[in-house]
């Protein structure tokens, strides 16, 4: 992609466009799969985006490798969200990690699939501190427990709320109308 006017200040975060062409995300992920085949079970490329499905026991290792390795440098966790695929699907839940590199400007998505009866995932707060609030929000809405999280409690819903609001079996209007009593 072409760059507009050159930015005069050479500050951290800025890079020339040519360095990113050698290691596009799909190449990175296939390389990672070759070196650690148990870390990545499936790779999907669609709409210009690369998704790698990671089994939950290896998510911490995969994330920290992607963060530190010189070719990928995914130092920015853009988003961490949970998805309820529907009550009939097996596995029912997934957790998506959207990674971004501030120097190379490429993006990748990691996905962890979870079955309904065992909603535990290791936390990635030791890799990126920003995962703290994102994981709290995912726990709040789906009930997915992040093992090793320093402070896993509800963040958006009231503290005494019963149920997990964004699951498909939670009704839109909730369970009871609001009353002061």
């Amino acid at each position: 992609m072409t760059n507009g006017a050159d930015n005069e200040q050479a500050l951290p975060g800025q890079t020339s466009p040519t360095s990113s062409q050698n290691s596009t995300p799909s190449l990175l992920v296939t390389k990672l799969q070759r070196s650690h085949p148990e870390w990545i079970t499936e790779i999907r490329v669609a709409h210009g985006e690369v998704t790698a499905i990671v089994p939950r026991e290896h998510i911490q290792a995969a994330c920290s490798d992607l963060k530190t390795s010189a070719e990928s440098r995914f130092d920015f966790l853009a988003d961490l969200c949970g998805v309820d695929r529907g009550q009939e699907e097996e596995p029912r839940f997934e957790v998506n990690y959207h990674l971004f590199s501030t120097t190379k400007h490429h993006r990748i998505r990691l996905k962890v699939l979870l079955a309904e009866d065992d909603l535990h995932v290791p936390t990635v707060t030791n890799v990126w501190r920003t995962a703290n609030w994102h994981e709290r929000e995912t726990f709040d809405f789906f009930g997915i427990v992040f093992d090793g999280h320093p402070d896993l409690r509800r963040i958006l819903l009231p503290d005494d709320w019963q149920g997990y609001a964004l699951r498909k079996d939670f009704p839109l209007r909730g369970y009871e109308p609001y009353s002061l009593k």
Binding site: A78, D79, G86, W133
Partner: protein, 405 residues
Amino acid sequence: MSSTLNVPPQFEIVDRPLDSQMTISMGPQHPSTHGVLRLELVLDGETVVKATPDIGYLHTGMEKLFEYKKYQQGIVITDRMDYLNPLGNNLAYVMAVEKLLELEIPERAQTIRVLTCELQRIASHLVWLGTHALDIGAMTVFFYCFREREKILNLIEAASGGRLTPSYFRIGGLMMDLPAGFEPRVKQFLDGFLEAVDEFHTLLTGNRIFQKRTQGVGVISAEDAIDWGLSGPCLRGSGVNLDIRRANPYTGYEKYDFEVPTEADGDVWARYIVRMREMKESHKIVVQALGRLKPGPVKADAPKVVLPDREAMKRHMDALIHHFLIVAEGFDVPAGEVYMPIEASKGELGVYVKSDGGPKPSRVHFRGPSFVNLSALPQMAEGAMIADIVAIIGSLDIVLGEIDR
């Protein structure tokens, strides 16, 4: 002491020495928290030992609401998220769905999107400046900023019908073309805007009180900023030159010539300077966008997704059927998932849309920049005074609608 006062048994008076810590709750109803934010401050005198944000007082359940609405109905909900930058929210959502549908947006629609989004960015920064200065004590700036903002709101209302909740973009283009006489009005606004920004500078930038209250306050380093996921002016104020309009360009931003202002200090003052310079850069982009406007269609050529022209609907059968189906049943979006990041006025606004193949999305998640920016507040606020907390919250430019969704 407790023996002489008749206090009910469930309360007890404990003797505390004067220099121990006190936990106090700031908010949720507070004039300086920019919305319903509650901070639990652990204070040692006037110094903050620990500040913990407690959010959720404006939680609206928008993400759940998206799953029950057709794709085009969801655009209206996105307005209410970051209500200072509604066109930005609209753009992010609409572009995410367009990415799933793989639609091609005509040139004129892209230019108008850039034009209106940059006007909206200026409007959002004006509210930030007005409220931030008001919290620090400069009340005049508030009125001046809102005077300029009224002009922009008039322009947005002329284009879309809504001042604060325009919902101007549609999946496949715009709601409708710009009204007649719009370009001269934009030019008129632009002519007076740079002097207005200089006026704000004369009021604030040289003011020693403002400098003392903002320089060295709320410092965060570049590595910490990236680790905490900060984006937008908060990240650029710490020296990281990252702008999604440059890194992952969208809507034709690669064709525009603008600078990305960056400051190295990482304090409240740096973020202030970055946003002031950004207002001038947005002004530049709007001037260029005005020059690029050429006549053309404003909706993509996709009859199953985009509503047909009103006149065509009244005369042609297929247009009528398409109109009816789109409005009544919605259009099917192929199954898949997409993450669309844009540079909103507050940072990286990312929309994650997952579709199951039907007319309603299966999951929509908004990565709100204010949500992530606020998570860095505990680190910025350690060791600051209570008055500094006010300045720091102002400099983060948070909007609770986006945090709580």
